[in-house]
Every structure is written in structure tokens, then in C-alpha cells.
Amino acid sequence: MSKKRNHILVVVLIVALMLTFTACASQTAAPAPAPEESKYPEKAISVLIGFNPGGGSDQLAQLANPFLYKYLEVSVSNIYKPGATGAIAWTELAKQSKNDGYTISVTNTPMLMTNYIMNDDITYNIDELTPLVNVLTDPGVIVVGKDSPFKTYEDFAKAVEENPGTVTVGNSGTGGDDFFTTLIWEKASGLKVQMVPFQGDGPSYQAAQGGKIDASFTNLGVVYGQVQAGNVRILATFTNERSGLVPDVPTMKELGFDVVAGSSRGYSAPKGIPDDAKAALIEAFEKTFKDPEFLANIAKLGQEPDIMIGDDYAKYLKDSETEFINIWNEVKDQVK
């Protein structure tokens, strides 16, 4: 009899335990709301990161979170869901996350769009998102190792012209920003190179630095430290104006080709978040962008801010989407 009662007690205890943990765990996301009026934000905000901790998206979020906390007065924490070049996190953002403004995500171009343009299995698209702000754009650059015979862009272009399809040019992976930059550049210049995809920006520029390939299309922020140290040379940047970080390097526009490209990082929320939430988030971001401390930290990463707010960012995403669809339709068959 007493043994049986013992067992009942055990069961009751376990049930109580489970409920406590489940309750506690769900409460971590919802601290006691302010009683007077329900006004956004009243609980913690989660930032979905579609890449590994330590990557570019994480770096941005780590820098921005303390400022968002300062201006929104709720805690902001990262949730990492890496995989499928961000598509796992962005699919979750578009399809599963509540559109209450408490889940936002770092959104990178061009991967945000090229993911679903190139793969039918990836089903989200930018129309299912509310673009909030763009924070920075890491411009595309052409780099060569310090011992490379190419001193200027003209040297490089001449070599490509004389040996069509054999000059080896690295990129960060098929479907990545540098892959598309190379394609856009090839189309604009009428030249043809042998593209070599690597797994990420690092291996791509390092192969150029070590003289394994002739050049690499990569991003300024990635190679900035190596440029300063004199290990690699930038031949040209894909920017509108000369970058303040490398003022001596000509832009592609100056060289006669209207090609502007790079990889941007910003923030988006699911579609249909409340207007007050959208406004509050954008306001907090605007304050952050004016904070000199934040700007100083961005500069430390070798990045320059490229701020686009709300509808401007949405238009930018939509325009880029159209551009990438066109390019992909043109080259799809030659890649496959």
C-alpha cells in the first residue's frame, strides 16, 4: 500500500517538474509585461541568424544588439539556425515565425534571393518578408597576390582578353555574391575567365594570395587587413564611388563598366508585422546608425555603412531580385 502511494507521489512530482520547466522555459522569452498599456516592445526580441556563430551575420548582430537593447529597452538575443546558406533560418522567418515583431533576422543579399532563384526546393521569397533596414554593404573587389604580374586592372583585362577562358578567377562559391559579380562583370566587359568556386571568401582570396589562382573576386572587408599589410593588391572595386578605405583604387565605373556589386547585410521581419512594431524597430535602428560608437565599431571590422531604411531597402531587394533572376536565366544552362 505504502509502496503504491510512493509511486503516485513520484508521478505527481514528475508532472509538476515537467510543467515547471516548460513554463519557465517559455517565460524566458516573456518577462512580466508592463501593466499600463500594451506597447511594442514589451518582451525580448530574437534575432535569427542563418549562419554559424562568428560569421559575418553574427558579427553584425553582435555589434548591433547592445544598441538595440539601449534604444528598445528589451533584451535582444541571437538564435543560430545555420544551414543551406541561410535558407533554413529565412524559411523559418517567412513561414513559421510569428509576425508580432519579436522575431527578426539578419538578411544578406544576394543569398536571400539567389537561394530560391536557384533552387526550387527553397520556397520562401522576399514578398513574404518585411524588409526593415540595410546596415552595410561589403563591396566586391578584384584582388591578386602581391607577387602577381597584374599591377593594374588593365594588365588583368589584357591577359584575360589574350587568353579567353584560361585565366583562373576564384569566387566564394557557386551562387554566392562573388559568383554573380563575376558573371555580371563578364557580361559587361565581354571577357571570359575560368571561374573556380571555393567554399567561402577565405579560401578564395588565400588561393590568389598564394599564387594558386590568377585573381579572386571577393569583398573588401574580407581582404582589408591583408591589403593594409601589403599581401594582396586590389585592382578595382565594384562601387559607385571610391571607397574611403582604399581611396587609391579605381572603381569599375571609372574603368568604363557600370557594374556595382557586393554583399549587403540588413534586417528583415516576417510579413505583416504590426505597424507600431515596424516603426519602433526602424526608429531604434535609425538611432543606432547615428551612434558614433556603433559607427566606430563597424569601421573596425573594415566595413562601411550603407544605410537603407524601410521602403528603400524593400525596393533595393526587389530590384536586385529582378537582376539576379535575369542573370540566372541567362547562365543557368552553361553552369549545369
Binding site: 562568428g54 533554413i88 575560368q194 573556380v196 598564394g210 594558386k212 573596425k300 553552369v335
Partner: protein
């Protein structure tokens, strides 16, 4: 030289020493927990160190990285589940030692080897980093292909009993590594329309599944205990006499670790197998490997700890991270306004050399804290099997989940677990499958990249001195495994005699 001494005086402050000890303690813990990795811990702790002076914060994280390499062997030895991928090779001889009731001793060997490996690589980092750093740049696709081929030849020597079974497991492992988006064409391969498979199957998931689930089932399927409980009072540290025969192995493994760390794209997970395999190749007692032979533990553990210093060499000398953990450390330096790159050794020499000395001292902290931590953890061998079994399952599930915060990985882990249990019954070894998974992607990508760079010329692999040498070693290892080689050797021996 001045910089080196400056670093030494900088590191000897109370705050730095405390940071090193703290980092070491956390490292031991995350290393010992299957699923929690040093990379993850560094990423999570990084923002917390922003408030500290750069040298202190980064020193703490580097100590963590080092200690986790030893920590991984604790779970590998006690419960046959590698705590980190770098401890996978330690399982082969560590767990059999536990079964013989020598768990404490096995951990002692592991600790000493970790200390030696760590010290040798710290000294290399302190003295010849600028010279060795350049090696990282010498490894492009062509050379990496040769490394992958050389790595795969280990499968032959690691498949005890039946080479056919080992090869089959290895090739299936390579095939599994093909799952995911193909880096060359961008096409999703073998993903069956599921975007969860686009990034491939994380091999840590497979590792946890293949090792720990079969172990949990094995623990409960019989009534008698699998492990003889080791006594906490057992002498843990090996005597000098016991170590005497292993110096060569330890030093060899340390150099293997440093070089594996240097090469971007390879780290502790590869180094432990290389270290183990070379120890076996040069040993007079090949048959003892895999049966609880301390030299096997020593070979793997010296190699994985040496990776830490090795991976930091190109990071500090060139700003090129040698492993994923050092990539995050580099990000940490950038947030402190220190631009990684060659200027680290000159412009920021105070921070850099403080960090290097901190790593050097972390070896001793790891030894001290490790000794205490290990004494306590040996008591795991006293836990009844039937309690340990379910707990291993809980740890594996949360470990597999925490890799990508994705429940899908837990399902995959379970799948590999059942596969591992079945492989165990058919006596197909799982180690070759792990090696196949680690190297498979590298093999395919570097092969295609090399051919793109050479305009389709297959001889590119023989024209390059590094890859030609590595491929020759690979060919030699294959030959060594055939009866022909034994025949020739016997002939030569007879002639001499």
C-alpha cells in the same frame, strides 16, 4: 626578442592568470560534454570578453580551446563517446583500457600527452611562427587533394580484421559526405528535395550517433557490468619508465598536429587520426593497437592538442585562420580593433605575445585543473550501466540538437545510431566511415577545383612538389598494406642475416 619578453611580463598579472584558469576549466567541461564544442563555447563567450582588455579576453578563449582538446578524451575514455570530434581516435584504445579497469591510467596518459603536444606547439608558435605561417598559403586545392588521398589511405590500416569491411565503411562515408549543395556546380546533391540536407550531414552528428547510441544500448543489453570500476585512489599519472618508450610517438604526433593545424581546412578531427595511424605504422606492436594500448591514446591526444598552436600560427602570422575555432578568435581580435594580419606580430606585438605566453601557461593550467577534474570524472566508471545508458541518450540528443539548433539533426543522429549498432553486430568498424565523411567533401571539391585550374590536366597533381610527395607517401602506405611488401621485407631481412 624584446617582444617575446614583453609578452611574458604582460601575461603574469593576477587577472590574466585567473582568465587562463577560468578558460581552462570551461574548456575541460565543454570538451567533456559530447555535442558541446570548443568552437561553440568560444562563439558564445566572445561577447562576454569584450569588456576585458583584449589580451586577457582572447587568452581566456585560447585556453578554453586548448583545454577542450583534452576534455574530449575524458568522455571518449570513460563512456566510449568522443566529447569532441578531435577525440574520436582516442576511443579506440582509451575505452578498452577503461574496460580493463584502467580508466584513471588512460586519462593520465591522455593528460600527459596533451601537455606535451600543447607545449611543443606553443613553443613552435613562440619561436618559428613567422617562418611556418607561409606554409598555410602553400596549400591550395591541388595540395589539399593530396592530403585527402593520404588521409583516406589510413582506412586500410584502421580496419582491423577485414580490410574489405573497413574499405566499404570508408567509401560509404565518402558517399555520405557528398550529400548537400555541391560547391562546384551549386546543385543540391542527394538532398531528396529537403532543404535540411542542403548543407550536408554535419559529421559531428554522425559521430555522436555512431559512437554513443550503440554504446548506450550495449550498456543495457547485458546484466554484467562492461567496465571494471577504476578506483579514484589509483595512480593516474604514468611513471617516467612507462613514458620512456612513448617519447618518439608523442613528438611525432605533436609535429603532425602542428602541421595539420597549419593547413586551413584541416584541424583536430583529422590530426588525431593521422597521429594514431603514424604511431601504428612505426610501432613494433601493431597488433596491440585497438586493444587498450596506451601508445594509441598518447598518439591521438598529443596530435590534437598540438593543433591548437599549429592553427594559431597562420592566424597570428598571416591573419588566415587555421581552423574554425581560430576563425572566431580572429573575429574577436577585430572587435577589439586589432586587425588580424601580419601587423599582429609587429604593431600589436604586446597583445599577440601575451596571447602566446598565455597559451603556453594554459598547458600547465590544463594539467593542474585537468588532474582534479579527471579524478572526479573517473567516478563515472562506478555508475551502474543501466543508469549510464539512458543518460548517454539524453546527452547525445541535446548534443546533436545544439550543433545547429535543429531537431532534424537529432533524427539524423538517431539514424546513425541505429546504423552504428547494426555495423557493430556485423563487425564493420565505424572509424573508417568517420574518416570518409571528414575527407570526402575535401576530396571531391579539391579534385574538381584542381582540374578547373589546370584546364583539365590530370597531371597537375604530379607536377606540384607538395602534392607529388604526399601522393607518393599515400601510394607507399597502400603498398605497405599488401602482402607483396611483407614479402620484399622478409627477403631483405634474410639477405642481411
Amino acid at each position: 626578442m624584446d617582444n617575446i619578453l614583453l609578452g611574458l611580463t604582460n601575461v603574469l598579472t593576477l587577472m590574466n592568470i585567473l582568465a587562463i584558469i577560468g578558460g581552462t576549466a570551461i574548456g575541460l567541461f565543454v570538451g567533456a560534454m559530447p555535442g558541446l564544442s570548443a568552437t561553440m563555447a568560444i562563439a558564445i563567450l566572445l561577447p562576454l570578453t569584450f569588456g576585458l582588455p583584449p589580451a586577457t579576453g582572447i587568452s581566456m578563449l585560447a585556453s578554453l580551446y586548448l583545454a577542450a582538446m583534452y576534455g574530449g578524451s575524458i568522455a571518449a575514455i570513460l563512456i566510449r563517446t568522443p566529447g569532441t570530434p578531435a577525440a574520436a581516435a582516442t576511443v579506440l584504445d582509451g575505452y578498452p583500457m577503461s574496460q580493463k579497469g584502467q580508466a584513471g591510467k588512460a586519462l593520465g596518459f591522455s593528460l600527459v600527452a596533451s601537455l606535451v603536444g600543447g607545449l611543443i606547439s606553443s613553443i613552435a608558435l613562440l619561436t618559428v611562427a613567422p617562418i611556418l605561417g607561409g606554409i598555410a598559403l602553400k596549400f591550395g586545392p591541388v595540395e589539399l587533394f593530396a592530403v585527402a588521398v593520404l588521409g583516406l589511405t589510413m582506412i586500410g590500416s584502421l580496419s582491423q580484421g577485414s580490410p574489405i569491411k573497413g574499405l566499404l565503411a570508408g567509401v560509404v562515408g565518402v558517399m555520405i559526405a557528398m550529400v548537400g549543395m555541391d560547391a562546384i556546380s551549386g546543385a543540391p546533391r542527394f538532398t531528396f528535395g529537403n532543404i535540411q540536407l542542403y548543407s550536408g550531414i554535419p559529421f559531428v552528428v554522425a559521430l555522436i550517433g555512431l559512437f554513443s547510441i550503440p554504446q548506450a544500448i550495449r550498456l543495457i543489453e547485458k546484466d554484467q557490468e562492461l567496465i571494471k570500476p577504476g578506483s579514484i585512489k589509483d595512480k593516474m599519472l604514468p611513471s617516467f619508465k612507462e613514458l620512456k618508450s612513448m617519447w618518439v610517438t608523442m613528438i611525432r604526433s605533436s609535429f603532425i598536429g602542428i602541421f595539420t593545424g597549419l593547413i586551413p581546412g584541416t584541424g583536430g578531427d583529422t590530426a588525431c587520426w593521422f597521429g594514431y595511424n603514424e604511431a601504428k605504422r612505426f610501432s613494433k606492436h601493431k597488433e596491440k593497437f585497438g586493444t587498450g594500448y596506451p601508445e594509441g591514446i598518447v598518439a591521438a591526444e598529443a596530435a590534437n592538442n598540438a593543433v591548437v598552436g599549429g592553427a594559431l600560427i597562420p592566424t597570428l602570422a598571416l591573419g588566415i585562420p587555421g581552423s574554425s575555432a581560430t576563425a572566431i578568435l580572429m573575429g574577436g581580435l577585430m572587435v577589439h580593433g586589432i586587425m588580424p594580419g601580419p601587423t599582429l606580430m609587429t604593431q600589436y606585438a604586446d597583445v599577440t605575445y601575451t596571447l602566446i605566453w598565455a597559451l603556453f601557461l594554459a598547458n600547465f593550467a590544463m594539467f593542474g585543473v585537468g588532474l582534479l577534474f579527471t579524478r572526479v570524472s573517473v567516478s563515472v566508471t562506478k555508475v551502474p550501466n543501466k543508469v549510464l545508458g539512458p543518460i548517454i541518450i539524453i546527452l547525445s540528443v541535446i548534443g546533436a540538437f545544439s550543433i545547429n539548433n535543429n531537431i532534424f539533426n537529432v533524427y539524423q543522429m538517431l539514424g546513425f545510431g541505429l546504423l552504428g549498432y547494426f555495423m557493430d553486430k556485423v563487425k564493420i568498424p565505424s572509424a573508417p566511415m568517420i574518416i570518409g565523411m571528414i575527407l570526402g567533401m575535401m576530396l571531391d571539391n579539391s579534385f574538381n577545383q584542381s582540374l578547373m585550374m589546370s584546364q583539365g590536366d590530370y597531371f597537375v597533381f604530379f607536377k606540384n612538389p607538395i602534392s607529388a610527395t604526399l601522393l607518393a607517401i599515400a601510394a607507399f602506405s597502400l603498398l605497405q598494406a599488401t602482402p607483396l611488401f611483407r614479402f620484399i621485407r622478409r627477403k631483405i631481412k634474410n639477405k642481411v642475416a
